[in-house]
Subunit: 284 residues, 4 copies
């Protein structure tokens, strides 16, 4: 598989910045696999992502960073460079419902998600044997026995131990404390089982049933202190009717949840997402 | 075109009620074009709609009603019978944006909507000539000159004058007063330009833009005193991205609005909708 | 979980037949959970499905069948009665790609699919350990070593041995011989990775890529001798663009395949599908 | 409204070409409103579109073209520059069904489509008065009286007379002769009422009904000599079921047709489409 570098930039919009970046890339013989630009005209802010054939470059990652830094400073860029050869470590938090966990494991195992999965952390023990087939370490954290505070301290220690770059809440049913939300800022992705901002909080399918909506959905978003209020990465919906009970909605909604979460996670892992002021630019 | 009767029933669920209805229909030689049943198991409530070939029946509408009444009483039914030959009168309220108005007129004119359109009432005058092509009376009610109270009194008088069976708010941008909502209860359909319950009230596309959602939508619902809280008939959504400005959302949303409203109105006109406790059963 | 009977009927349309069936059900105190009717006006053919609370009935399955037979004969019905307590046996045929297999196993294991899975038969061996977690017997049939004829004979013997009521081809990449298609007529479901009738046969995503379509899809259908020509149960599509390579289409298409197959299989297992003249009525 | 230039380029992929173009734009102070890139890795071909704030540029259109030509030659570019101030002239061909015609007129009239409509040419006369409201010249060409050859000669003369840049077949039900297809190559857009390549040719909804598909659609494509085989710009689908007659499909399909055609036409008018080897790149 071809290795690539991803160069992701956002900065105040300014004439000459694309020229400067592309001039830099051309000088170093970069073959561009994919290039995406977006100008937010209202904010006067610019977003850019390049996927570059690593073999075409006369630079290592380190030398690229050194050489590019002056341009970045000139244009006041937020920026980072990642190498596809360095796979990010994605930890998964799970509860009793396993559909999102199983879906992520399968996509990772078949190469759809370019990452390592260093561990699964769950407040239910029943998927331990399943994780073994994938040879992923499984940690059961007993929230009931430990209490919520100690349990989340344990979760945080495990994430640190495994050096997780990304934490995915795969229908994890415990609300993260504020200190952990802060610790994981921009590095934790949740799936909420409603079409946000409709039906935030508990029992969204029951809420949807009671309101009598004709479509239900799921929302993949970054975790922030404000529950279900973080930047949205991806949403999916499915049609329902009067003949669907709340239980039918749960079943149908699972397909939305799996797809929305898998897409959102993939976009993040491929450096396609830029968070800006509680919204996202997604170069899908 | 084949004429039909629609027999629409809801009542507490009970063994024998389908047998009683279908026995009645068979005795009168009814050929059934379409039959739909729904049992709300949670509420123990039953919903049923029959579309019957009118020519197959040995009954007039009046004699059908008389003959069926004992069964209806036995099972405590809410029910009504309509004849496709008697077209309901659908008045349209419109404002400056004309996409929903034009869409409804076209569908009506080409036979998609089985109704008469006795009048268009608008708080802008610019579509008067357009309405002429369709030979539909157009009334400009000058809300600014008359003031809101007098203007809505005028609207109500016009609806009474034209004997409207249904009033459709085709992106009508004035909020109906409570007394008019009550007057039109179950007989007025609105299109709201968001995926309710998200973004109720004013400027939904701007709200959607600010929240950074990845799908926008439109909701067709019955008008009630509680703004944007009435029973939902139909919803449509469309995908958007970071590259869509609020103006792009307005453009994309219009297609959702037209389709959701047209579907909702058609379901109502074909007696496919039963309102029950702020929700709808829609035999689409 | 509540047990139900499903009574599924199709027959020439005739006045009085719904009355006869509902009269029969009422006489035996049947509480109806769900009832669906369809009249094909062009063919003059009638389709009906009842889901009945088994506890409400004063009849066993056997006595129901005996008692109903005279009505069935009177109206020349094709009909059958199934009891949810008797779970059908669903065998799965798989190849190297495992996404559909894994999806079906998960849905079955979490109760979404009301069936037993007596065996998995595959022409690749790599999922054997995975199947163990679900405690489902796994048979590797070595098509290369045995040759196609002997291999399919082996498959047929295994299906007979396990007494399979339904055989699901979960992206099984061997074309069934005619004699096996006949053996499994109406009892084998395939997923084809295109939006049929577009791109039947081999390499549909490559075909789609070459034609430059803007949506791709998947089709769940009954297996017949004519490749990809059997009655369609369910289809799903997903949007693509010029930026999707054939490999991207493969990835995106998998989500369509899983959903279309899972839906189609569930409809079949819940007796929601009636095959009539190479088309299906699906009471979804 | 802000005026823009659109610079649209395709050429063999090569290191340095983005740098050259963006360098050129920066040198002339171009503020970029929207930029899109695509590399077809399989073909080694590159596609690029820039939308540039016209006021930011120190160049007129003519001087831009002169100044850019050397770069274009250096990289063997196919390219063109358009100015939003110069609206393309879009002629519409129509038949009896008017939904696409009415939809396009409304979108044009409300500013969604940046073009002039110099004329409508139809082989039915009934929309003449309607066109008057929009003040668009309407030409009835009597195919029956004139015969097909003479009629198409007349159509071609009218298109020449009105100097049409684009010809839209808005459900125009006459098959264009080869010579006219050639005349209009890359400048004529058709809407076909099926999800191509399924159901090309006559009566696609009847074909769909007979095959028993579960989704129907519409395809917007450039006209070529090979009927329904031209480069696809946009497709839309809608779910159907066994309960939809061919007439229901016609009704539902119209919504797909209108949306697919309107999108495709808008993409073309905004110079978002590049045709390459019977496929399109659409920078939507």
């Amino acid at each position: 598989m071809q290795q690539t570098f991803k160069l992701v930039i956002d900065c105040p919009d300014q004439v000459g910045l694309v020229a400067a970046v592309s001039q830099f890339l051309a000088e170093h013989d970069a073959t561009i696999v994919e290039a995406s630009h977006h100008t937010d005209l209202q904010l006067g802010h610019f977003f850019m992502r390049h996927e570059i054939n690593a073999d075409s470059l006369a630079l290592t990652k380190a030398s690229f960073i050194d050489a590019f830094e002056p341009i970045a400073q000139q244009f006041s860029m937020n920026w980072h460079l990642t190498a596809s050869a360095e796979k990010p470590k994605m930890a998964i938090l799970a509860s009793h419902e396993s559909h999102c966990l199983i879906d992520l494991l399968h996509r990772w195992h078949t190469g759809e998600l370019n990452c390592e999965i260093p561990c699964i952390i769950a407040n239910h023990a029943h998927m331990e044997k399943f994780a073994e087939w994938y040879q992923v370490p499984f940690h059961f954290v007993d929230f009931k026995a430990l209490g919520k505070n100690a349990a989340f301290k344990k979760v945080s220690e495990l994430l640190a131990h495994y050096d997780a770059d990304l934490t995915v809440l795969a229908r994890f049913m415990q609300i993260l404390p504020d200190w952990l939300c802060d610790e994981l800022a921009g590095k934790a992705i949740n799936i909420h089982h409603s079409f946000l901002p409709s039906f935030a909080g508990a029992k969204p399918y029951q809420q949807a049933y009671e309101r009598g909506v004709k479509l239900i959905g799921a929302t993949c978003h970054y975790v922030t202190q404000d529950l279900d209020e973080g930047p949205i990465i991806e949403q999916q919906v499915i049609r329902i009717s009067h003949s669907d009970s709340a239980a039918d909605m749960v079943r149908k909604g699972k397909d939305c949840e799996k797809t929305a979460l898998a897409n959102g996670v993939r976009y993040h892992l491929e450096d396609r997402v830029i968070i800006h002021q509680n919204k996202t630019v997604v170069f899908a």
